[in-house]
Amino acid sequence: MSAPPLEIHDMTVAYHRKPVLWDIDLTVPEGKLIGILGPNGAGKSTLIKSVLELMPLASGKVTFYGQPYARQRHLVGYVPQRESVDWDFPVTALDVVTMGTYGQLGWFRRPGAAQHEAAGRCLAQVGLEPLARRQIRQLSGGQQQRVFLARALAQNAQIYFMDEPFAGVDAATEQAIIGLLQRLREGGKTVLVVHHDLQTVREYFDHVILLNMRLIAAGPTASTFTTENLNRTYGGRLTVLDQAAEAVRRGDRRQ
């Protein structure tokens, strides 16, 4: 597997004929923890959804390890935004995680003992094994997020896309999630995370992708997460800028 996990060439994505992402050119290195950053409406989620073919491309080409997505689905894991589903749906935590194995099962085959066992192991990895039989409404927001994470683990992928896994979770859950992501990276996986909190960027991510409808910058956090790049990404948003400046200042001091 010499080809990079993800390559995007000249990708443009439009929504209702209004372009949301322009000419994205991006190569994602293997085995890194990568933050996707940008203001609201910058197209962070759209980037994930369009490379996973959940939204049509207006133009461009996306390859996973040198092949189109349709041939590499088994290598890709996905954590959608938590609000995207109905948590009152009649399934247990274990049911949801088992869905991660459906892709490997293929048509008509029902999940059996092996799949449920695998799903149970993934739940254990996020610390939710005792709650496996709970209906998902009865879980806290952070627990629901971890169920989604466990489902992606059950996909047993090489590259993971996570859409705001830290949204609405408490600090302890955030720590647990970031620990899990770091373990994934130690296992040689590539993890892309849509992230909002600029304060934690340096602490969490090896690489960053700065996005605001165009690709502003992408690369190692140390050289890419700079005041200048953040300025270009967030434009005139003052409060965000203050935050960013503070984050950068603290980062510089640490080095």
Binding site: K49, L52, E53, L54, A70, R73, V76, Y78, P80, S84, V85, D86, F89, P90, V91, T92, D95, V96, M99, Y102, G103, L105, W107, F108, R109, R110, P111, Q135, R151, Q155
Partner: protein, 456 residues
């Protein structure tokens, strides 16, 4: 029970069952009204098919119904996509337009000189299960079997599609095709049910069993199974009730409609039976039912009352815990905003469980009572300390906030609190002293949820 009634009974049971299963999916996908649209939009199709074939041909007319029903669905998608009309509005518009067209067409047919009145179209509007014959039953049985097989085969696929379509698609499932298979099957079932239940009431056959089943289970498989059973049972029961069979069994008329010759319309009776079962579930289902929720709310209230009583007694006798003094009700009432009867009731309950000894001189904590109260006071004060240090709430405001949450703290969380506080320099004593003045009346009692208990 005669032969004709048996045919109708089998037909409506099969219909109710399969409609319940498919309707459950529609319900979970928040498309409960899709069945309503399909059935209303089917009416013009029935009429057009009759006009084309010139005679009443069951299968042919159902094909027509299916086609216009699906055309209605497609039209909604188009209207939503290209005209900025919201889905609910589009549904209302398309549904009534098709139904109106159907009514106009059927009245044209009925007034034709060549015996259009025999088309029996009016029976499709309100349904006429008694008209069912052996061929109809075979068709219903065939479609039901096919529909249930599709659901059984694609259970896993339908499950992930219904729960999280985006994830399903990313995983490689052809969600559009699966969706079409699901909705197509739903349309087929709807159309097959029209002659028996009618355009207007078909939606209830689809929605009621699933909505009822959801009250009793938290898992998809059991929910579908239960919806099928409920649909089949109400279909069969409604038929028997309307055909007067129940009346014969009982020896009297439970509905008291007098005239033994006139049967009630089957479709509406089926729907009303389903509604009865739904209402029963609304009230009596465990966990989700109204009574179960009231019960758990009451238990929470009782628990909070008991804990507040013990804590207040503890704090009033804190100077001499080894031999707690007797506390009068007036002393208690100065500290908590209870009514006198409520204080009496709480004391009576606590006495009965051996935590309090209550005599003419007042109430006193027993040894088990002191132990239990100590546990509660510890929770309260740890939380107060945490709020003062962690949330920077002023000491004279903290009591009320702690009151709202302390009843819900778990032992693990308390352990964690103690560790955190110890790390922050608060000595890890078993029961920390109160961080605020205890002599002042405790107005926090107003947070005691006689009105509104904290949501769990």
């Amino acid at each position: 029970m005669n032969y004709l009634t048996t045919i109708v009974l089998l037909g409506t049971s099969a219909l109710g069952s399969v409609a319940g299963v498919l309707g459950s999916f529609a319900l979970l996908r928040r498309r409960a009204l899709m069945g309503d649209l399909l059935s209303h939009a089917a009416l013009p199709g029935l009429c057009l098919a009759f006009l084309v074939m010139g005679q009443r041909h069951f299968a042919g007319m159902l094909l027509g119904a299916l086609l216009t029903g699906l055309a209605g669905v497609v039209l909604i998608t188009i209207v939503c996509r290209f005209t900025r009309t919201r889905e609910d509005a589009a549904l209302g518009i398309v549904l009534s337009t098709f139904f109106g067209a159907g009514i106009v067409l059927s009245s044209i047919i009925q007034h034709r000189p060549d015996g259009g009145a025999k088309a029996g179209l009016e029976s499709y509007i309100y349904g006429q299960a008694v008209g069912m014959n052996r061929q109809d039953l075979y068709l219903i049985a065939g479609v039901s079997l096919a529909a249930l097989s599709i659901v059984a085969m694609l259970f896993k696929e339908f499950k992930v599609l219904s729960f999280d379509p985006g994830f399903a698609r990313a995983q490689g499932w052809p969600t559009w095709t699966l969706d079409m298979a699901m909705m197509g099957t739903l349309a087929l079932v709807t159309v097959i049910g029209l002659p028996a239940v009618g355009v207007v009431l078909m939606a209830a056959m689809l929605i009621l069993p699933g909505a009822t089943a959801r009250f009793w289970t938290d898992r998809l498989g059991p929910m579908l199974l239960l919806a099928g059973l409920i649909g089949g049972a109400t279909g069969g029961f409604g038929t028997l009730l309307s055909a007067g069979v129940v009346k014969q069994w009982l020896g009297f008329d439970p509905l008291r409609f007098g005239d033994t010759e006139s049967n009630l319309p089957t479709g509406p009776v089926i729907v009303l039976s389903g509604t009865a079962l739904f209402l029963f579930s609304v009230f009596f289902a465990p966990q989700r039912g109204v009574l179960a929720r009231l019960w758990s709310e009451m238990r929470l209230r009782r628990k909070i009352g008991r804990e507040n009583l013990l804590r207040t007694l503890y704090e009033l006798s804190e100077p001499a815990l080894a031999s707690p003094a007797e506390i009068s009700i007036d002393q208690l009432l100065r500290r908590r905003a209870w009514s006198r009867p409520r204080a009496h009731w709480l004391l009576w309950r606590a006495t009965r469980s051996g935590l309090v000894a209550w005599g003419p001189g007042g109430a006193r904590l027993t040894q088990p009572g002191v132990a239990e109260a100590a546990r509660l006071v510890r929770a309260h004060r740890l939380w107060e300390l945490f709020l003062i240090r962690g949330a920077h709430i002023a000491p004279d405001h903290v009591d009320r906030d702690a009151d709202a949450i302390e009843h819900l703290l778990t032992p693990e969380l308390l352990g964690q609190l103690q560790t955190d506080l110890a790390a922050a320099g608060v000595a890890a004593v078993q029961i920390p002293p109160s961080p605020h003045d205890l002599s002042r009346p405790d107005l926090s009692a107003s947070t005691e949820p006689d009105e509104e208990p904290p949501r769990v």
